[in-house]
Symmetry: C2
Subunit: 559 residues, 2 copies
């Protein structure tokens, strides 16, 4: 079984190079890979995130497995592709047999705690079928995606969830804000120039400041809870998942962040008129749906993007606070820090808004890892273009915290990133996969030919040069990212690229065949079963002619 | 939800054509599709099975989903393909989230009982993870594949299992047989002409009679338990799974069945010298493994097949007893009878023994259904060549017992056979799928190039004319069953058939993509989520510009 280190003082952790003591696993929601200064944004400044990149490795080509919060996050939390864990979109429950980050890390003696969002829906039907009543640890973890809940905030409907999610509303009430759900009516609403309240859900609210001051905003509050946790945990080992809702909608920032980038340079939209005329049924429906139309309006980007950037800036500032506290506590030396996002935001690129499709704007995410161990010194400050996936984080965590990276091979589908972090070594991965299930979107109703909602999906495979999208509705798509890094020209019907498409199609087929659905099986068991003489020794001597043969078989001499 | 009929008297069941009262679900183990007189065997006589065919529909092209007991049975019991349920071979546990026949039928108020074999291994690790302690109904059903256990007999190691499996040994002890495991030392061992005991596992034992008389043999004993159950159940509704071990190895029959077919005509072996020279790595290894070599010996078929036929004859005779009792109790009129098998037996065909590969000898099975309702009168005595699968039985049962056939669509992957039984109607199915995982076999050790045991598998798609086998090791195979019904000529490298192979390859890819791994999801939920205005009404009004748009959205007028 996994090695559990009990030798936990900080210097040992740093110097023995074997394990890290803690992991601070930070996730933003809907943060694009290019919305950081270290990844080249022309006006946004994120010095604290950039400082992480200076101290660690920035993965410039990191991809999430799902094109929407729920499916993407369940891949982060289970280390498995969407096709394997099955929670294909928001609100699709995570089946009770799925093993989570908490299951893997608690075995190593590590508290696995949550501050913020998981977007996980519990499989209540599955729990009821097994008679799992309330009150046990197991039942709690099944409800909370395997995490010990310090603070849960899915950023939606806090009033309809359990008490664990009421805390931020309670905090706002204590600060004098009123109403049934001040998460919405105060923190995510604004006052216009006439003093009228506008719901932050409406795009026209974006330029105004939130009704709450920065110090009581959701981002600041969650950062405070993370600091509280780290302080109170003392010398216990932990993996803390600090999971911000922002810069996800509602696009509402507290002062001064609503205004900082109001007049800043924002890159021109990545879109072409040819795209708008494209008749691919799925892309056409997305671009002409309400969200696509809204974010394609000439004024939309100017309205929304400065607020979006302000929200990122606010996260960066709060991370500065958090990292300062980590240093003050001496935890910087023994804590691995991971910074990433669950997916991006079209923000009008490709004439789309939101997410749910497979362009780089959505499935390519920020990913920075700071490994405090000496073994990682030689890669500090480097940027790698190696293709990595969200599911690579959990095996990285298991290995870093002292587990055997390959032990739970029937569960984890990713690859530990330690070889890259320690040696800039190459990995087995030559392509990445993402999945998009758009059949949950309202546009589906207006798209003919979708007989079976669950077939309204697409699967992307992307290697160093090409991105191929197998679309269950409409034609398949291909982009040559060397020639067309902005994905403006679909080569799905280019005869000269037929072999490339066929090869990627076949690679995807192979990927589908080898998902680890057979989670009760594993290679070790198969090797034991197929060992010469194994069946005979278990009392199932099939196909032996006589006693002499059986004796030879029992000794493994006859197969 | 499903309709539950409380109106259970026999005449109502027969005449209202809505539901059947009970289902007698009989399964043999390792019974080939052609080992019945009604399917054309030249010497075997199975009058009681033939009588079922006269009263119902015989499915002449019925296929199992797995090429070995465990995986095939889990497909029967879950209504899902092997790729979906994940229990890919014997002893691979059925994951706790898999919903079984018992789950589906108990909801309809139907006792779902077992007499005999399931070959199911419980997912003890999964149960422990959820803290499922002993003693609850849920825990019992998880351990017993969803069945109420009247008598469990997996035909192996009864001495090492729980008390539920000791019953047959107990019975043998009471009859005066001794030893730790009289299942083996008495019922499945023989006395040779010199009075020496030979273990029935050894092929050389096949011609001798079992040490126990027929009346206390395993087949007779299980038939008795089924009769006991039906008598004691009275007017309760039930689905009884009577699951014989035979004619599975050990090839031991009690007198006189060991001798009835000793000199009978047995069909010549279905094999060619070209096959023996075939260098396909998997087929070569199978043919040259111990079991392949044993069953290829000139004397093997003459030794084993008469015993195999005798075991089938014995089952037929016992079924005659059972059907007589059913008639006597009046249950014949309100009970659907299903007769099938979990897979076949090579018996030396293709120079192979046992199973674990995808020829018709293995994956094509007997399937006869007698539907007692008037609605089925016009198909009685017919034989259909429509392609059907083992997973079609569970939706047939659900519908026949009064459930909505489509209700649990996220669970069931088959298609109800009622349209065929009542109208000889066509179905959606144009091909069938079977999967073989040979990486558990001892031959694997001697086969180079198998780096990952779990990749040692193959998937078959078969339509009316062709059978295509995608083999993860070695080349893919193709048979033209019109020109080569005996599958003696692999056309996998025939250039003229490239388009046919490509089309079947692509059809398999589509099949892999659409397995129902996302069992917590369903089309109804997707339709609700994608309804116009649905997200806004749930408090997530994404992409609305202003109050006017939101109002239109809430009313479903804007998408």
């Amino acid at each position: 079984m996994a090695e559990t280190s009990t030798d936990c003082d900080t210097e040992t952790f740093r110097e023995n190079n074997k394990v890290v003591k803690n992991i601070l696993f930070i996730m933003c929601d809907q943060l694009r890979w290019d919305a950081m200064s270290c990844s080249g944004h022309p006006s946004l400044e994120t010095p604290h995130i950039d400082a992480l990149a200076d101290r660690g490795v920035r993965f410039n080509r990191a991809f999430v497995q799902g094109a929407v919060c729920g499916s993407s996050r369940m891949s982060f939390y289970t280390g498995r592709y969407v096709q394997t864990h099955g929670a294909r979109w928001n609100q699709v429950p995570l089946a009770i047999n799925q093993v989570t980050m908490g299951d893997h890390l608690r075995k190593l003696g590590v508290r696995t705690a949550l501050v913020g969002k998981t977007h996980m829906r519990a499989d209540l039907e599955g729990m009821a079928r097994l008679g799992l009543g309330e009150g046990s640890d197991e039942e709690f973890f099944l409800r909370e995606c395997g995490f010990e809940v310090v603070e849960r905030d899915d950023g939606l409907h806090p009033e309809t969830r359990g008490s664990s999610e009421l805390a931020y509303n309670q905090f706002l009430w204590e600060k004098g804000f009123t109403g049934k759900n001040p998460w919405h009516s105060a923190a995510n609403s604004v006052l216009d120039e006439n003093g009228n309240t506008i719901s932050g859900w409406l795009l026209r609210a974006a330029p105004y400041a939130s009704k709450v001051p920065e110090s009581v905003s959701e981002t600041a509050y969650m950062t405070d809870r993370a600091i509280d946790f780290i302080q109170s945990a003392g010398e216990e080992r932990w993996c803390l998942h600090l999971s911000f809702i922002k810069p996800h909608w509602p696009y509402v920032a507290p002062a001064p962040y609503n205004d900082i980038y109001r007049d800043a340079e924002i890159p021109p939209p990545n879109r072409s008129s040819e795209e708008l005329a494209d008749q691919h049924p799925v892309l056409h429906a997305m671009r002409h749906s309400r969200i696509g139309r809204a974010m394609s309006r000439p004024d939309a980007r100017r309205l929304v993007i400065p607020t979006y950037l302000g929200l990122v800036k606010q996260i960066d500032t709060n991370l500065g606070r958090l990292f300062g506290k980590l240093k003050e506590l001496g935890r910087e030396k023994d804590t691995m820090i991971v910074f990433t996002s669950d997916h991006g935001d079209y923000l009008g690129d490709h004439w789309m808004g939101e997410k749910d499709w497979l362009n780089e704007e959505i499935v390519r995410v920020p990913m920075i890892i700071v490994d405090p161990r000496n073994a990682a010194d030689k890669t500090r400050g480097t940027v790698t273009n190696k293709l990595v996936e969200a599911i690579d984080l959990l095996p990285t965590f298991v290995e870093s915290l002292g587990g055997a990276s390959k032990e739970p091979e029937q569960w984890l589908e990713g690859e530990s990133l330690i070889p890259i972090l320690h040696h800039d070594a190459s990995t087995k991965r030559s392509s990445v996969i993402s999945e998009a299930d758009w059949g949950f979107l309202e546009m589906t109703k207006y798209l003919s030919g979708v007989q079976v909602p669950r077939a309204a999906r697409a699967t992307m495979i992307r290697n160093d040069r090409y991105k191929y999208i197998l679309s269950e509705v409409g034609s398949n798509l291909l982009y040559d990212l060397d020639e067309d890094p902005n994905e403006l020209c679909d080569r799905g019907d280019d005869l000269s690229m037929r072999t490339i498409r066929n090869d990627l199609h076949e690679e995807l087929f192979e990927w589908f065949r080898h998902r680890r659905h057979d989670s009760t099986n594993n290679d070790l068991f198969m090797q034991m079963t197929s060992a010469p003489g194994s069946a005979a020794r278990q009392g199932i001597p099939i196909g032996y002619w006589d006693e002499q043969e059986l004796e030879a078989g029992l000794q493994g001499k006859l197969y």
